[in-house]
C-alpha cells in the first residue's frame, strides 16, 4: 500500500501560475518530508525539505506547507516557469537519512 499518497497525478498550468501538489501520510513516526524534482532522462534531485516542527518553509519560488494535525504537506511553486516542467515526488522518512518512502509523483507542465 502507498504510505504517502500524492495528488494530482498530472497538472498543467500557465506560465506565472501557482501549481500546488499535495501529499498525505499515515505514519506519525515520519519526521522528515522532502520534495524531489526529476527532469526527463535524469535522476531525482532534492528540491526542498521540511521537518514537522515548522508549518512552512520557503526556498526561492518553492514553498512547502505542512499540517501536522492533518498529516498533510504540499508544494507550491510561485510564478511558475516552463523550466519548472518536471516530475515532482514527495517523500517521507522516519530515520535520519535512510529509507525514504515516495509518493507516486506528479507530472507538471508549465505552458508558456
Amino acid at each position: 500500500q502507498q504510505q504517502v499518497k500524492q495528488s494530482p497525478q498530472s497538472l498543467i498550468v500557465q506560465k506565472g501560475g501557482i501549481p500546488i501538489i499535495n501529499c498525505a501520510y499515515e505514519n506519525t513516526a515520519f519526521d522528515y518530508f522532502p520534495w524531489y524534482q526529476q527532469f526527463p532522462g535524469k535522476g531525482p534531485a532534492l528540491l526542498i525539505a521540511i521537518r514537522p516542527d515548522v508549518s512552512e518553509k520557503k526556498e526561492g519560488r518553492f514553498t512547502i506547507s505542512f499540517n501536522k494535525s492533518a498529516k498533510q504537506f504540499s508544494l507550491h511553486i510561485m510564478d511558475s516557469q516552463p523550466g519548472d516542467s518536471a516530475t515532482y515526488f514527495c517523500a517521507a522518512s522516519k530515520e535520519y537519512g535512510n529509507k525514504l518512502v515516495f509518493g507516486a509523483g506528479t507530472i507538471l507542465r508549465v505552458k508558456s
Partner: protein, 112 residues
C-alpha cells in the same frame, strides 16, 4: 559535486537471464540505495546498504539481490529476470547523518 553513475542507461535482457546493474559514487558515502521507478507507483526501495558487505531489504526485495564489496560500488542483481522486472532502476547514495539522497541517471531495463 556529488556524482553517482550507473553502468548502463538502457539494457535489454531475455527472461531467465541473470542481470547485473552497477552503481558507483565518488563521494565516500556510507549509504547506498536501489529503487525502481514505475509510472503511478513512484520510487520503491528494493535494497539499501549502510556499509561495505552490509545490506537491508527495502519494500520490494523479492527477485533481487545486492552486493557491496567496496564502499563506492553497489550492485543490483536480478537472479532470473522476468518481464515484470521491466522498469527504470535508480541508484542513490548519501552520507550517514545527512538526509539528501543523490541519485544516478537511472537504467531503463527491458526484459523480453
Amino acid at each position: 559535486d556529488v556524482k553517482v553513475t550507473q553502468s548502463s542507461r538502457y539494457l535489454v535482457k531475455r527472461t531467465g537471464e541473470k542481470v547485473f546493474l552497477e552503481c558507483v559514487q565518488d563521494m565516500d558515502h556510507e549509504n547506498m540505495f536501489w529503487y525502481r521507478q514505475d509510472p503511478g507507483l513512484g520510487l520503491r526501495l528494493i535494497y539499501f546498504s549502510y556499509d561495505v558487505k552490509m545490506k537491508e531489504k527495502g519494500d520490494i526485495p523479492e527477485g533481487y539481490s545486492v552486493s557491496r564489496e567496496k564502499k563506492e560500488r553497489f550492485s543490483l542483481i536480478l537472479e532470473s529476470a522476468s518481464t515484470n522486472q521491466t522498469s527504470m532502476y535508480l541508484c542513490a547514495s548519501n552520507t550517514g547523518g545527512t538526509d539528501t539522497q543523490y541519485f544516478g541517471p537511472g537504467t531503463r531495463l527491458t526484459v523480453l
